[in-house]
Symmetry: C2
């Protein structure tokens, strides 16, 4: 599982870390790039996870159906999320100049393999 | 201002509506495509606005700085947001097959003109 998270980080220019986490804020596994070793992806994902639950509820109440992807771009970084069913998500943190499109694609293309290990 | 919102919708393949709203949930102006006349973009944006405030707070507490863009992709649509400073945001709703990249670009390129009218 860590191999897949590592592949996401190494395959995405500007990616600092990737994590697989439950929507309850409990991490399953993570990978942090060597050059971004001080990145606390677990705290970040945990902090966001509760907000993402609220977004999912909002989308459902608005008849948008299940949320599959969330992206939050801020001054110093981009947090990309791919939902894996009801209970888990995989996320990657990019630096401000990270490659959004590649990150999103890496998450999507890894989702099946990650979900099959859950 | 409605002209700019109309341009966002017409310039984005699959866009149904665009809205300029305060983070307090009060709409400033909106535009709904004729072929999507039943789209209640105001209720959607209002429902999301409170969640977006929470996301911004989370990003700030994580030293990510100010949030500039948020994207939520669900089964039946994509909600794209561009923040206009502290108090307002512009958003567009795309159908499930809408053009994400073009929508994001239209929001960004319109942000300056919209902000100058606030």
């Amino acid at each position: 599982m860590q191999e897949i998270l590592k592949k996401i980080v190494e395959g995405t220019p500007g990616a600092k870390a990737a994590i697989l986490m439950g929507f309850d804020g409990i991490a399953v596994d993570q990978w942090v790039a060597e050059e971004a070793a001080d990145t606390d992806i677990e705290s970040m994902a945990m902090e966001f996870s509760f907000r993402f639950i609220e977004l999912r509820k909002a989308a459902q109440s608005l008849d948008m159906g299940d949320v599959s992807d969330i992206a939050v771009k801020a001054e110093h970084g981009v947090f990309l999320v791919r939902c894996l069913g009801e209970d888990y998500f995989v996320a990657t943190l990019l630096g401000a100049s990270g490659h959004f499109g590649k990150g999103r694609w890496m998450l999507r293309s890894s989702a099946g393999a990650l979900a099959s290990e859950l």
